[in-house]
Protein backbone atom coordinates (compact mmCIF):
# COMPACT_ATOMS: atom_id res chain seq x y z
CA UNK A 1 0.00 0.00 0.00
CA UNK A 2 1.38 3.39 -1.01
CA UNK A 3 1.42 5.95 1.82
CA UNK A 4 -0.32 9.25 1.17
CA UNK A 5 1.74 12.37 1.83
CA UNK A 6 3.59 10.99 4.87
CA UNK A 7 5.53 14.17 5.65
CA UNK A 8 2.41 16.33 5.56
CA UNK A 9 0.60 13.82 7.75
CA UNK A 10 3.50 13.80 10.19
CA UNK A 11 3.37 17.60 10.50
CA UNK A 12 -0.43 17.60 10.92
CA UNK A 13 -0.26 14.88 13.57
CA UNK A 14 2.48 16.78 15.39
CA UNK A 15 0.28 19.91 15.40
CA UNK A 16 -2.66 17.96 16.82
CA UNK A 17 -0.45 16.40 19.48
CA UNK A 18 0.95 19.82 20.41
CA UNK A 19 -2.56 21.24 20.73
CA UNK A 20 -3.84 18.30 22.78
CA UNK A 21 -0.69 18.05 24.91
CA UNK A 22 -0.61 21.69 26.00
CA UNK A 23 -4.18 22.90 25.66
CA UNK A 24 -6.53 20.17 26.88
CA UNK A 25 -7.18 18.70 30.34
CA UNK A 26 -6.62 15.22 28.88
CA UNK A 27 -3.14 16.32 27.81
CA UNK A 28 -2.54 17.82 31.24
CA UNK A 29 -3.63 14.55 32.82
CA UNK A 30 -1.11 12.59 30.72
CA UNK A 31 1.64 15.13 31.45
CA UNK A 32 0.95 15.05 35.18
CA UNK A 33 0.89 11.26 35.20
CA UNK A 34 4.17 11.20 33.24
CA UNK A 35 5.77 13.65 35.65
CA UNK A 36 4.59 11.55 38.59
CA UNK A 37 5.96 8.31 37.09
CA UNK A 38 9.30 9.82 36.08
CA UNK A 39 9.46 12.11 39.11
CA UNK A 40 9.95 15.23 37.04
CA UNK A 41 8.37 18.69 37.09
CA UNK A 42 5.34 19.49 34.94
CA UNK A 43 3.99 22.83 33.75
CA UNK A 44 0.47 21.41 33.40
CA UNK A 45 -2.17 23.65 35.00
CA UNK A 46 -4.91 22.30 37.30
CA UNK A 47 -7.41 20.40 35.14
CA UNK A 48 -10.29 22.82 35.69
CA UNK A 49 -8.13 25.79 34.64
CA UNK A 50 -8.40 24.65 31.02
CA UNK A 51 -11.96 25.95 30.80
CA UNK A 52 -13.07 29.51 30.14
CA UNK A 53 -9.97 30.46 28.11
CA UNK A 54 -8.18 31.88 31.16
CA UNK A 55 -10.98 34.29 32.03
CA UNK A 56 -12.32 32.35 35.04
CA UNK A 57 -10.17 33.95 37.70
CA UNK A 58 -10.44 34.50 41.44
CA UNK A 59 -10.90 38.07 42.65
CA UNK A 60 -7.68 40.00 43.38
CA UNK A 61 -6.76 39.95 47.06
CA UNK A 62 -6.55 43.72 47.27
CA UNK A 63 -9.24 46.01 45.93
CA UNK A 64 -8.49 49.70 46.26
CA UNK A 65 -11.06 51.79 48.13
CA UNK A 66 -12.67 54.36 45.86
CA UNK A 67 -11.80 57.99 46.68
CA UNK A 68 -15.35 59.09 45.96
CA UNK A 69 -18.35 58.25 43.81
CA UNK A 70 -17.08 57.03 40.44
CA UNK A 71 -19.17 57.10 37.25
CA UNK A 72 -19.62 53.60 35.79
CA UNK A 73 -17.53 54.60 32.76
CA UNK A 74 -14.50 55.18 34.99
CA UNK A 75 -14.98 52.10 37.16
CA UNK A 76 -13.01 49.87 34.79
CA UNK A 77 -10.02 52.22 35.06
CA UNK A 78 -10.01 51.74 38.84
CA UNK A 79 -10.26 47.98 38.30
CA UNK A 80 -7.30 48.04 35.92
CA UNK A 81 -5.30 50.21 38.32
CA UNK A 82 -6.00 47.76 41.16
CA UNK A 83 -4.64 44.89 39.04
CA UNK A 84 -1.61 46.73 37.64
CA UNK A 85 -0.61 50.00 39.27
CA UNK A 86 2.16 50.57 36.70
CA UNK A 87 -0.44 51.34 34.01
CA UNK A 88 -0.75 54.91 35.31
CA UNK A 89 -3.22 56.83 37.41
CA UNK A 90 -6.93 55.86 37.17
CA UNK A 91 -7.88 59.07 35.27
CA UNK A 92 -5.06 58.41 32.76
CA UNK A 93 -6.16 54.78 32.36
CA UNK A 94 -9.77 55.92 31.94
CA UNK A 95 -8.79 58.25 29.13
CA UNK A 96 -6.77 55.48 27.43
CA UNK A 97 -9.62 53.00 27.82
CA UNK A 98 -12.06 55.50 26.31
CA UNK A 99 -9.91 55.92 23.22
CA UNK A 100 -9.36 52.14 22.94
CA UNK A 101 -13.10 51.48 23.30
CA UNK A 102 -13.83 53.97 20.52
CA UNK A 103 -11.37 52.20 18.21
CA UNK A 104 -12.37 48.67 19.13
CA UNK A 105 -16.11 49.30 19.73
CA UNK A 106 -16.08 47.20 22.90
CA UNK A 107 -15.23 47.81 26.55
CA UNK A 108 -14.04 44.22 26.98
CA UNK A 109 -11.75 44.54 23.96
CA UNK A 110 -10.43 47.83 25.37
CA UNK A 111 -9.52 46.06 28.63
CA UNK A 112 -7.85 43.30 26.63
CA UNK A 113 -5.90 45.88 24.62
CA UNK A 114 -4.78 47.58 27.81
CA UNK A 115 -3.18 44.40 29.15
CA UNK A 116 -2.32 42.40 26.00
CA UNK A 117 -1.66 45.15 23.46
CA UNK A 118 -3.77 46.70 20.71
CA UNK A 119 -2.64 44.28 18.02
CA UNK A 120 -3.79 41.31 20.08
CA UNK A 121 -7.14 42.95 20.84
CA UNK A 122 -7.70 43.84 17.16
CA UNK A 123 -6.91 40.25 16.19
CA UNK A 124 -9.32 38.89 18.82
CA UNK A 125 -12.06 41.30 17.70
CA UNK A 126 -11.67 40.19 14.09
CA UNK A 127 -12.03 36.53 15.07
CA UNK A 128 -14.79 36.79 17.70
CA UNK A 129 -18.45 37.47 16.96
CA UNK A 130 -20.14 40.84 17.12
CA UNK A 131 -20.36 42.49 20.57
CA UNK A 132 -18.09 39.84 22.11
CA UNK A 133 -17.41 39.41 25.81
CA UNK A 134 -13.89 38.84 27.10
CA UNK A 135 -14.38 35.06 27.08
CA UNK A 136 -15.22 35.15 23.33
CA UNK A 137 -12.18 37.31 22.65
CA UNK A 138 -9.93 35.06 24.76
CA UNK A 139 -11.11 31.97 22.88
CA UNK A 140 -9.72 33.50 19.68
CA UNK A 141 -6.27 33.83 21.28
CA UNK A 142 -3.72 31.15 22.10
CA UNK A 143 -4.35 30.01 25.71
CA UNK A 144 -2.22 30.59 28.79
CA UNK A 145 -1.79 34.31 28.17
CA UNK A 146 -1.47 35.83 31.64
CA UNK A 147 -2.54 39.21 30.28
CA UNK A 148 -6.01 37.72 29.58
CA UNK A 149 -6.35 36.79 33.26
CA UNK A 150 -5.32 40.31 34.24
CA UNK A 151 -7.90 41.80 31.87
CA UNK A 152 -10.50 39.44 33.37
CA UNK A 153 -9.63 40.60 36.89
CA UNK A 154 -9.76 44.25 35.83
CA UNK A 155 -13.19 43.77 34.25
CA UNK A 156 -14.37 41.91 37.34
CA UNK A 157 -13.22 44.69 39.67
CA UNK A 158 -14.48 47.36 37.26
CA UNK A 159 -17.85 45.61 37.22
CA UNK A 160 -17.92 45.58 41.03
CA UNK A 161 -16.95 49.27 41.30
CA UNK A 162 -19.70 50.18 38.83
CA UNK A 163 -22.51 48.47 40.74
CA UNK A 164 -25.43 50.53 41.95
CA UNK A 165 -27.19 49.79 45.26
CA UNK A 166 -30.35 47.65 45.43
CA UNK A 167 -32.17 49.97 47.83
CA UNK A 168 -32.10 53.73 48.54
CA UNK A 169 -28.80 54.86 50.11
CA UNK A 170 -30.71 55.93 53.23
CA UNK A 171 -31.53 52.31 54.13
CA UNK A 172 -29.40 51.20 57.06
CA UNK A 173 -27.27 48.09 57.38
CA UNK A 174 -28.49 45.83 60.16
CA UNK A 175 -25.78 43.18 59.81
CA UNK A 176 -22.51 43.71 57.91
CA UNK A 177 -20.42 41.22 55.92
CA UNK A 178 -18.01 38.99 57.85
CA UNK A 179 -17.74 36.55 60.73
CA UNK A 180 -20.46 37.03 63.32
CA UNK A 181 -22.54 35.27 65.95
CA UNK A 182 -25.51 33.85 64.03
CA UNK A 183 -28.76 35.42 65.32
CA UNK A 184 -30.83 32.25 64.84
CA UNK A 185 -28.47 29.27 64.75
CA UNK A 186 -25.82 30.50 67.19
CA UNK A 187 -22.09 29.95 66.77
CA UNK A 188 -19.66 32.04 64.72
CA UNK A 189 -20.36 31.87 61.00
CA UNK A 190 -19.52 33.90 57.93
CA UNK A 191 -22.26 36.31 56.97
CA UNK A 192 -21.69 36.30 53.21
CA UNK A 193 -23.56 39.52 52.45
CA UNK A 194 -25.01 42.62 54.06
CA UNK A 195 -28.48 42.85 55.60
CA UNK A 196 -30.40 46.00 54.80
CA UNK A 197 -33.25 46.80 57.18
CA UNK A 198 -36.21 47.68 55.01
CA UNK A 199 -39.97 47.32 55.31
CA UNK A 200 -41.86 44.56 53.52
CA UNK A 201 -42.82 45.48 49.96
CA UNK A 202 -40.00 47.96 49.27
CA UNK A 203 -38.79 47.83 45.65
CA UNK A 204 -35.49 45.96 45.15
CA UNK A 205 -33.58 47.09 42.06
CA UNK A 206 -30.94 45.38 39.93
CA UNK A 207 -27.52 46.87 40.63
CA UNK A 208 -26.36 46.39 37.02
CA UNK A 209 -27.44 44.83 33.73
CA UNK A 210 -27.44 41.04 33.89
CA UNK A 211 -29.22 37.72 33.45
CA UNK A 212 -31.26 36.06 36.20
CA UNK A 213 -29.45 32.84 36.99
CA UNK A 214 -31.80 31.76 39.70
CA UNK A 215 -35.26 32.77 40.86
CA UNK A 216 -36.39 30.26 43.45
CA UNK A 217 -37.78 29.75 46.94
CA UNK A 218 -36.41 27.79 49.86
CA UNK A 219 -36.81 27.78 53.63
CA UNK A 220 -33.44 29.40 54.32
CA UNK A 221 -33.01 32.14 51.69
CA UNK A 222 -36.72 32.67 51.20
CA UNK A 223 -37.57 34.03 47.77
CA UNK A 224 -34.15 34.46 46.25
CA UNK A 225 -32.84 36.06 43.06
CA UNK A 226 -29.33 35.49 41.73
CA UNK A 227 -28.28 37.81 38.90
CA UNK A 228 -25.18 37.20 36.76
CA UNK A 229 -23.69 40.49 35.53
CA UNK A 230 -20.93 38.78 33.51
CA UNK A 231 -17.20 38.84 34.06
CA UNK A 232 -17.51 36.83 37.28
CA UNK A 233 -19.73 39.43 39.01
CA UNK A 234 -22.85 37.90 40.55
CA UNK A 235 -25.30 39.47 43.01
CA UNK A 236 -27.93 37.75 45.18
CA UNK A 237 -31.06 39.18 46.80
CA UNK A 238 -32.67 37.03 49.54
CA UNK A 239 -35.78 36.99 51.75
CA UNK A 240 -37.95 38.82 49.19
CA UNK A 241 -41.70 38.91 49.48
CA UNK A 242 -42.23 38.74 45.72
CA UNK A 243 -39.97 38.07 42.72
CA UNK A 244 -40.76 40.17 39.65
CA UNK A 245 -38.42 38.41 37.20
CA UNK A 246 -37.80 34.75 36.37
CA UNK A 247 -34.99 32.39 35.42
CA UNK A 248 -33.09 33.50 32.32
CA UNK A 249 -34.64 37.00 32.20
CA UNK A 250 -32.42 39.89 31.17
CA UNK A 251 -32.53 42.73 33.68
CA UNK A 252 -31.35 46.32 33.32
CA UNK A 253 -29.55 48.46 35.90
CA UNK A 254 -32.11 50.07 38.18
CA UNK A 255 -34.95 47.76 37.08
CA UNK A 256 -37.30 46.68 39.86
CA UNK A 257 -36.70 42.95 40.21
CA UNK A 258 -38.35 42.09 43.54
CA UNK A 259 -40.25 43.38 46.54
CA UNK A 260 -38.41 42.97 49.84
CA UNK A 261 -39.91 40.80 52.55
CA UNK A 262 -39.37 38.46 55.44
CA UNK A 263 -39.36 35.02 53.82
CA UNK A 264 -37.02 32.17 54.75
CA UNK A 265 -34.79 32.09 57.84
CA UNK A 266 -35.06 35.70 58.98
CA UNK A 267 -35.69 37.67 62.16
CA UNK A 268 -37.74 40.38 60.44
CA UNK A 269 -38.25 42.24 57.15
CA UNK A 270 -34.91 42.94 55.48
CA UNK A 271 -32.94 42.35 52.28
CA UNK A 272 -29.85 40.14 52.33
CA UNK A 273 -27.70 41.55 49.50
CA UNK A 274 -24.67 39.50 48.48
CA UNK A 275 -21.88 40.15 45.99
CA UNK A 276 -19.79 37.28 44.62
CA UNK A 277 -16.64 37.85 42.57
CA UNK A 278 -15.18 34.86 40.78
CA UNK A 279 -17.45 32.59 42.82
CA UNK A 280 -16.32 33.98 46.20
CA UNK A 281 -18.49 36.18 48.43
CA UNK A 282 -16.94 39.59 49.08
CA UNK A 283 -18.01 42.61 51.11
CA UNK A 284 -20.04 44.79 48.71
CA UNK A 285 -19.10 47.86 50.74
CA UNK A 286 -15.45 47.43 49.69
CA UNK A 287 -16.49 48.58 46.23
CA UNK A 288 -18.47 51.61 47.25
CA UNK A 289 -17.37 55.14 48.09
CA UNK A 290 -20.56 55.81 50.05
CA UNK A 291 -21.24 53.56 53.01
CA UNK A 292 -24.77 53.30 54.37
CA UNK A 293 -25.13 53.80 58.11
CA UNK A 294 -25.61 50.83 60.39
CA UNK A 295 -28.46 50.23 62.79
CA UNK A 296 -29.85 47.48 64.97
CA UNK A 297 -32.58 45.58 63.16
CA UNK A 298 -33.73 42.47 61.32
CA UNK A 299 -31.18 39.99 60.09
CA UNK A 300 -30.77 36.38 58.93
Amino acid sequence: MKPRLPLVELVLCALCLWAAWYHTPAGALVRTAGAWVFRTHTTARPLLAYYGAGTLVPPPEHALPLPGPVPPAQALAYGAFAVRADLGSPPAIASRLRSLAQTLHSEDAAALALFCGEETAHYAMEHAGSQPHLIDLARALPPSKTCVSQAAQALMLGGAYALAWPLPESVRITSPFGMREHPLLGGRRLHAGVDLGVMKGAPVRAVADGIVRRASTDGVNGRILVVDHGGGVVTSYCHNDELLVGDGDHVRRGQMIARSGNTGRSTGPHLHYQLDLGGEPVDPLRFRAQRPKTAVGASD
Binding site: L15, H23, L47, L185
Partner: protein, 208 residues
Amino acid sequence: MELRVTERVSKIRWIFLPLGMCALVAVGTHAAADVVGDKVLFAVDRVDAFFDAIFSSWSVTAPLVDLVGLGERTFFARAVALAWELSADALLAIPVLGYDERAAADELTIARVLAKRRLSLRLVQPAAALLVSIAGAAAVARLLQGTLLHYPLIGGFVAATALFGLFLLLAPRAVFRSLEHASAQKTAIGLLGLAILGPLAIAAVASL
Protein backbone atom coordinates in the same frame (compact mmCIF):
# COMPACT_ATOMS: atom_id res chain seq x y z
CA MET B 1 17.49 12.02 -0.05
CA GLU B 2 13.91 13.24 0.03
CA LEU B 3 12.68 9.78 -0.81
CA ARG B 4 14.70 8.32 2.03
CA VAL B 5 13.10 10.73 4.53
CA THR B 6 9.65 9.92 3.14
CA GLU B 7 10.34 6.21 3.44
CA ARG B 8 11.54 6.56 7.02
CA VAL B 9 8.52 8.64 7.96
CA SER B 10 6.26 6.09 6.26
CA LYS B 11 7.67 3.37 8.47
CA ILE B 12 6.46 5.10 11.63
CA ARG B 13 3.04 6.08 10.28
CA TRP B 14 1.47 3.24 12.25
CA ILE B 15 2.32 5.10 15.44
CA PHE B 16 1.97 8.79 14.63
CA LEU B 17 -1.21 8.55 12.58
CA PRO B 18 -3.41 7.02 15.33
CA LEU B 19 -1.82 9.34 17.92
CA GLY B 20 -2.46 12.41 15.78
CA MET B 21 -6.06 11.39 15.10
CA CYS B 22 -6.61 10.70 18.79
CA ALA B 23 -5.19 14.15 19.59
CA LEU B 24 -7.40 15.77 16.93
CA VAL B 25 -10.51 14.24 18.49
CA ALA B 26 -9.33 15.19 22.01
CA VAL B 27 -8.86 18.82 20.95
CA GLY B 28 -12.32 18.85 19.39
CA THR B 29 -13.85 17.29 22.48
CA HIS B 30 -12.26 19.95 24.65
CA ALA B 31 -13.52 22.76 22.42
CA ALA B 32 -17.01 21.30 22.72
CA ALA B 33 -16.76 20.70 26.48
CA ASP B 34 -15.68 24.30 27.01
CA VAL B 35 -18.96 25.41 25.42
CA VAL B 36 -20.93 22.82 27.43
CA GLY B 37 -19.36 24.12 30.66
CA ASP B 38 -21.23 27.43 30.40
CA LYS B 39 -24.56 25.64 30.01
CA VAL B 40 -23.80 23.18 32.81
CA LEU B 41 -23.49 26.09 35.22
CA PHE B 42 -27.10 27.07 34.58
CA ALA B 43 -28.22 23.45 35.00
CA VAL B 44 -26.28 23.15 38.28
CA ASP B 45 -28.01 26.31 39.55
CA ARG B 46 -31.41 24.77 38.82
CA VAL B 47 -30.50 21.49 40.53
CA ASP B 48 -29.12 23.36 43.55
CA ALA B 49 -32.32 25.44 43.81
CA PHE B 50 -34.36 22.23 43.69
CA PHE B 51 -32.38 20.60 46.50
CA ASP B 52 -32.31 23.83 48.55
CA ALA B 53 -36.11 23.85 48.49
CA ILE B 54 -36.17 20.27 49.78
CA PHE B 55 -33.35 20.49 52.35
CA SER B 56 -34.62 23.76 53.85
CA SER B 57 -37.89 22.05 54.82
CA TRP B 58 -36.31 20.40 57.87
CA SER B 59 -34.13 22.04 60.50
CA VAL B 60 -31.74 19.06 60.47
CA THR B 61 -30.98 19.40 56.77
CA ALA B 62 -31.30 23.21 56.54
CA PRO B 63 -27.54 23.80 57.12
CA LEU B 64 -26.91 21.91 53.87
CA VAL B 65 -28.43 24.86 51.99
CA ASP B 66 -25.52 27.09 53.04
CA LEU B 67 -23.01 24.34 52.32
CA VAL B 68 -23.15 24.79 48.57
CA GLY B 69 -22.50 28.39 47.59
CA LEU B 70 -21.82 30.02 44.27
CA GLY B 71 -18.14 29.03 44.38
CA GLU B 72 -18.97 25.37 44.93
CA ARG B 73 -21.58 25.46 42.17
CA THR B 74 -19.06 26.97 39.72
CA PHE B 75 -16.45 24.39 40.72
CA PHE B 76 -18.98 21.58 40.37
CA ALA B 77 -20.10 22.81 36.93
CA ARG B 78 -16.52 22.85 35.68
CA ALA B 79 -15.92 19.40 37.20
CA VAL B 80 -18.99 18.09 35.36
CA ALA B 81 -17.63 19.57 32.10
CA LEU B 82 -14.30 17.86 32.77
CA ALA B 83 -15.92 14.50 33.53
CA TRP B 84 -18.07 14.90 30.40
CA GLU B 85 -14.99 15.63 28.29
CA LEU B 86 -12.99 12.70 29.65
CA SER B 87 -15.97 10.34 29.14
CA ALA B 88 -16.27 11.53 25.55
CA ASP B 89 -12.52 11.04 25.12
CA ALA B 90 -12.94 7.44 26.30
CA LEU B 91 -15.78 6.89 23.82
CA LEU B 92 -14.29 8.71 20.84
CA ALA B 93 -10.57 9.47 21.13
CA ILE B 94 -9.23 6.27 22.71
CA PRO B 95 -10.81 3.87 20.14
CA VAL B 96 -9.15 5.89 17.36
CA LEU B 97 -5.79 4.63 18.66
CA GLY B 98 -6.74 1.24 17.20
CA TYR B 99 -6.63 2.60 13.64
CA ASP B 100 -5.13 0.13 11.20
CA GLU B 101 -4.57 1.80 7.86
CA ARG B 102 -5.73 0.26 4.61
CA ALA B 103 -5.75 1.56 1.03
CA ALA B 104 -8.02 4.59 0.63
CA ALA B 105 -10.35 2.76 -1.78
CA ASP B 106 -10.69 -0.17 0.65
CA GLU B 107 -11.46 2.14 3.55
CA LEU B 108 -14.15 3.84 1.50
CA THR B 109 -15.71 0.52 0.50
CA ILE B 110 -15.73 -0.75 4.09
CA ALA B 111 -17.19 2.53 5.33
CA ARG B 112 -20.01 2.33 2.77
CA VAL B 113 -20.85 -1.23 3.77
CA LEU B 114 -20.82 -0.40 7.49
CA ALA B 115 -22.85 2.78 7.09
CA LYS B 116 -25.54 0.96 5.05
CA ARG B 117 -26.39 -1.33 7.95
CA ARG B 118 -29.65 -0.49 9.65
CA LEU B 119 -29.75 2.87 11.35
CA SER B 120 -29.02 2.45 15.03
CA LEU B 121 -27.21 3.94 17.97
CA ARG B 122 -24.03 2.60 16.39
CA LEU B 123 -24.01 5.63 14.12
CA VAL B 124 -23.86 8.01 17.08
CA GLN B 125 -20.13 7.51 17.61
CA PRO B 126 -19.03 8.15 14.00
CA ALA B 127 -21.43 11.08 13.68
CA ALA B 128 -20.07 12.60 16.89
CA ALA B 129 -16.51 11.82 15.74
CA LEU B 130 -17.17 13.74 12.52
CA LEU B 131 -18.44 16.87 14.28
CA VAL B 132 -15.81 16.72 17.00
CA SER B 133 -13.02 16.22 14.43
CA ILE B 134 -14.22 19.27 12.52
CA ALA B 135 -14.26 21.25 15.77
CA GLY B 136 -10.78 19.89 16.57
CA ALA B 137 -9.42 20.88 13.17
CA ALA B 138 -10.86 24.38 13.58
CA ALA B 139 -9.41 24.63 17.11
CA VAL B 140 -5.94 23.56 15.96
CA ALA B 141 -6.07 26.06 13.07
CA ARG B 142 -7.24 28.78 15.47
CA LEU B 143 -4.41 28.00 17.87
CA LEU B 144 -1.87 28.20 15.04
CA GLN B 145 -3.25 31.47 13.74
CA GLY B 146 -3.40 32.90 17.26
CA THR B 147 0.19 31.87 17.92
CA LEU B 148 1.26 33.69 14.72
CA LEU B 149 -1.02 36.70 15.27
CA HIS B 150 1.84 39.13 14.83
CA TYR B 151 2.41 37.75 11.30
CA PRO B 152 -1.16 37.85 9.97
CA LEU B 153 -0.41 36.73 6.41
CA ILE B 154 1.75 33.78 7.43
CA GLY B 155 -0.66 32.91 10.25
CA GLY B 156 -3.66 32.96 7.95
CA PHE B 157 -1.91 30.83 5.34
CA VAL B 158 -0.60 28.28 7.87
CA ALA B 159 -4.01 28.03 9.59
CA ALA B 160 -5.87 27.59 6.30
CA THR B 161 -3.39 24.94 5.12
CA ALA B 162 -3.61 23.07 8.43
CA LEU B 163 -7.41 23.23 8.39
CA PHE B 164 -7.54 21.91 4.83
CA GLY B 165 -5.00 19.17 5.60
CA LEU B 166 -6.80 18.05 8.76
CA PHE B 167 -10.18 17.97 7.01
CA LEU B 168 -8.75 15.98 4.15
CA LEU B 169 -6.25 13.63 5.77
CA LEU B 170 -7.06 13.06 9.45
CA ALA B 171 -10.74 13.78 10.09
CA PRO B 172 -12.12 11.22 7.57
CA ARG B 173 -9.88 8.51 8.99
CA ALA B 174 -10.99 9.31 12.54
CA VAL B 175 -14.63 8.99 11.43
CA PHE B 176 -13.87 5.74 9.58
CA ARG B 177 -12.13 4.26 12.61
CA SER B 178 -15.01 5.34 14.81
CA LEU B 179 -17.50 3.66 12.47
CA GLU B 180 -15.37 0.53 12.38
CA HIS B 181 -15.06 0.48 16.16
CA ALA B 182 -18.80 1.06 16.73
CA SER B 183 -19.67 -1.74 14.28
CA ALA B 184 -17.27 -4.17 15.92
CA GLN B 185 -18.73 -3.64 19.39
CA LYS B 186 -21.13 -6.32 20.63
CA THR B 187 -23.60 -3.74 21.89
CA ALA B 188 -24.25 -0.17 20.84
CA ILE B 189 -23.13 2.58 23.18
CA GLY B 190 -26.64 2.86 24.56
CA LEU B 191 -28.60 5.80 25.82
CA LEU B 192 -25.86 6.84 28.26
CA GLY B 193 -23.39 7.13 25.41
CA LEU B 194 -25.96 9.07 23.42
CA ALA B 195 -26.50 11.36 26.41
CA ILE B 196 -22.75 11.98 26.60
CA LEU B 197 -22.00 12.36 22.90
CA GLY B 198 -25.20 13.98 21.63
CA PRO B 199 -24.96 17.34 23.44
CA LEU B 200 -21.20 17.38 22.98
CA ALA B 201 -21.57 16.95 19.23
CA ILE B 202 -23.99 19.89 19.13
CA ALA B 203 -21.59 21.91 21.29
CA ALA B 204 -18.80 21.01 18.86
CA VAL B 205 -20.74 22.79 16.12
CA ALA B 206 -21.35 25.74 18.45
CA SER B 207 -17.62 25.99 19.16
CA LEU B 208 -16.80 26.67 15.49
